[in-house]
């Protein structure tokens, strides 16, 4: 397993419903990332289809693995890197059982998926109308370490990032489709999650305008001390590269020992209290 690797963060405006166009973009950027010797490339939430697919989600959703996963899997093999991207997933058990999912594929083939656990259904968001909640918090074994993935609104719930960190993920990848009015929240929370878990955090956000919603981009790789290692431009299509070195965790973990100082009994209290909310 590599102790040090290079990440590529990509934000591009998706064409809603045009998977082939979006896959072509993924292929183009994967090629570019490989030239820069990146080990992993990350695309935003729902980047296969665009975020605001609404009723078309039923039609656009695919099983994972499925046709699009295979196409992107080929790109990952060809370019010899890991690719994380978002897409609407359809369960093999039902035509309308859909998930907002992040898929991970790599040089060795399909690795796994994460189904979004917290689905925003307020303000302009209507995810629960279409998607079922995810129930698993998996981490993925790769040759660049254990990867944990969360999606957008999940970042408002620190317990999920913590659950991934407690399973040994030292980098958390958060793919997102965040509109401009939420920028401050995400800029704060991404840094908070990295610091409180002493982990790297790669945040990759959509750009472009869908149905009047302006996605602000600003993708970033954050170090365990909260430093921004690299950041993409706001509002514009962009790719940025940043290095992760797990060795950097050693001094941070020693002097910000949040994992050592965890109080498990509080989680029991939290469970009880949140059930009575």
């Amino acid at each position: 397993m590599k102790e040090e690797f290079k990440t590529a963060l990509v934000q591009f405006p998706c064409k809603i419903g045009n998977k082939q166009h979006n896959i072509n973009k993924i292929a183009k950027y994967a090629k570019q990332a490989k030239k820069q010797k990146a080990d992993i490339i990350i695309f935003p939430e729902m980047s296969l289809t665009g975020y605001t697919t609404r009723d078309l989600t039923y039609e656009l959703a695919e099983e994972i693995p499925g046709p699009s996963t295979k196409k992107i899997g080929k790109i990952a093999k060809k370019e010899n890197l890991y690719i994380i991207y978002g897409m609407p997933e359809r369960s093999e058990k039902g035509k309308a059982i859909l998930y907002n999912t992040a898929a991970l594929t790599g040089p060795e083939g399909y690795v796994g998926k994460y189904r979004k656990m917290h689905l925003p259904t307020h303000s302009v968001f209507e995810e629960k109308r279409y998607f079922r909640l995810g129930y698993q918090t998996p981490v993925f074994e790769t040759n660049i370490g254990k990867l944990g993935i969360i999606i957008c609104y999940d970042i408002f719930f620190p317990e999920i990032t913590r659950a991934l960190r407690l399973q040994g993920a030292k980098i958390i990848i958060c793919i997102s489709a965040s509109p401009a009015v939420r920028k401050k929240f995400f800029e704060t929370l991404t840094t908070a999650r990295a610091i409180e878990n002493t982990c790297f955090l790669a945040y990759v956000n959509l750009v472009g305008i869908e149905n009047g919603l302006q996605f602000w981009g600003g993708s970033r790789l954050i170090s365990p001390s909260g430093t921004i290692i690299t950041q993409s431009r706001y509002n514009e299509e962009d790719i940025s590269f940043g290095n992760v070195n797990y060795e950097d965790l050693r001094p941070i973990e020693a002097f910000v020992p949040t994992l050592r100082d965890l109080r498990p009994e509080l989680y029991v209290t939290l469970k009880e209290l949140s059930e009575k909310l």
Binding site: K15, I16, G17, N18, H21, G50, T52, T53, R54, D55, L56, E59, L60, E126, R129, A180, G208, I209, E210, N211, G212, Q214, N235
Partner: protein, 282 residues
């Protein structure tokens, strides 16, 4: 939350950037050749025109000034010409007096005393001409409605609010007044009393019964789910005043939505067909 003017403060540069990005993006995705809009000489249409020229270039913006005898105002005319010169968009002046007279004569039950129906007819006639140019020159119609007027339904249904995009609809009037100077709109245009120009000497604030500075704070409170009593208390106004604004907001929802039907089948227009504009064919 304390209802003060501070809450309505905007960052004009950031707001301009967001709106121009939106206009440019939508015109491009709609594959339109540009934008047509009504220019009245008021701050809303002046702001919308300025934003459109910044977004897509003045040569792609067509402004239509459509005066008519009853509400003709020399100052407005001067302001319209000033705007076209300053922002370099093409301006056409179309006198609607004769057209309106013909329409009045055509309607068998036309009642000259019913000034509201006649006034709305004027707004809708202007809309007809915008859409003629939109069709003929493959342009998009940009509406100039602001959030204050839209929330209380102070506009003509299928008239001045009929448009393909409404770039400043998420800005209250007092916020438009903050954005306008940043865009270079002359102070005389920003400061003059707003009017829908449906009949002579009509002013919006007189008709609404509140200054926009007050109305906007009431609407801001409503927007943020504040109870009527709390808004009244904070603004030192009668509960009745807030209730009247709230009533106007609720009772005019029919103006802000597509026509209502009753649900009969599996998926119903505007009820549970949910799509995004600019979706690619799949």
């Amino acid at each position: 939350m304390k209802l003060t003017n501070k809450l309505l403060q905007i960052d004009p540069a950031a707001t301009q950037q967001k709106i121009t990005r939106f206009i440019k993006d939508y015109v491009s995705k709609a594959k339109a050749k540009g934008i047509v809009l009504g220019i009245s000489g008021g701050v809303d249409s002046a702001t919308t025109a300025a934003l459109a020229t910044t977004a897509i270039g003045a040569n792609k913006v067509l402004g239509l000034y459509m005066p008519e005898k009853e509400t003709y105002n020399k100052t407005d005319r001067k302001h319209v010409k000033l705007l076209a010169k300053k922002f370099k968009f093409q301006l056409k002046t179309i006198n609607l007096t004769q057209t309106l007279n013909t329409i009045y004569k055509t309607i068998p039950d036309y009642d000259p005393k019913d000034k509201l129906s006649r006034g709305n007819l004027k707004a809708r006639t202007r809309m007809l001409i915008w859409y003629y140019y939109a069709n003929h020159q493959r342009l998009l119609v940009a509406g100039s409605s602001d959030k204050s007027e839209t929330m209380i339904g102070y506009y003509t249904k299928w008239g001045d609010a009929a448009a393909d995009i409404t770039p400043i609809m998420d800005l209250y009037k007092t916020q438009v007044r903050q954005l306008a100077p940043h865009l270079g709109i002359p102070p005389a245009i920003i400061k003059k009393p707003p009017t829908p120009a449906l009949w002579p000497n009509q002013t919006a604030e007189e008709e609404i019964g509140l200054k926009y500075e007050t109305l906007d704070l009431i609407l801001y409170g409503i927007e943020h789910f504040m109870p009527t009593q709390t808004i009244a208390k904070q603004l030192h106004l009668l509960t009745k005043t807030i209730a009247t604004v709230k009533k106007r907001w609720l009772q005019t929802e029919h103006k802000r939505q597509m026509p209502l039907t009753t649900k009969l089948e599996y998926r119903t227009i505007n009820a549970d067909f949910r799509l995004t504009r600019t979706t690619e064919a799949i």
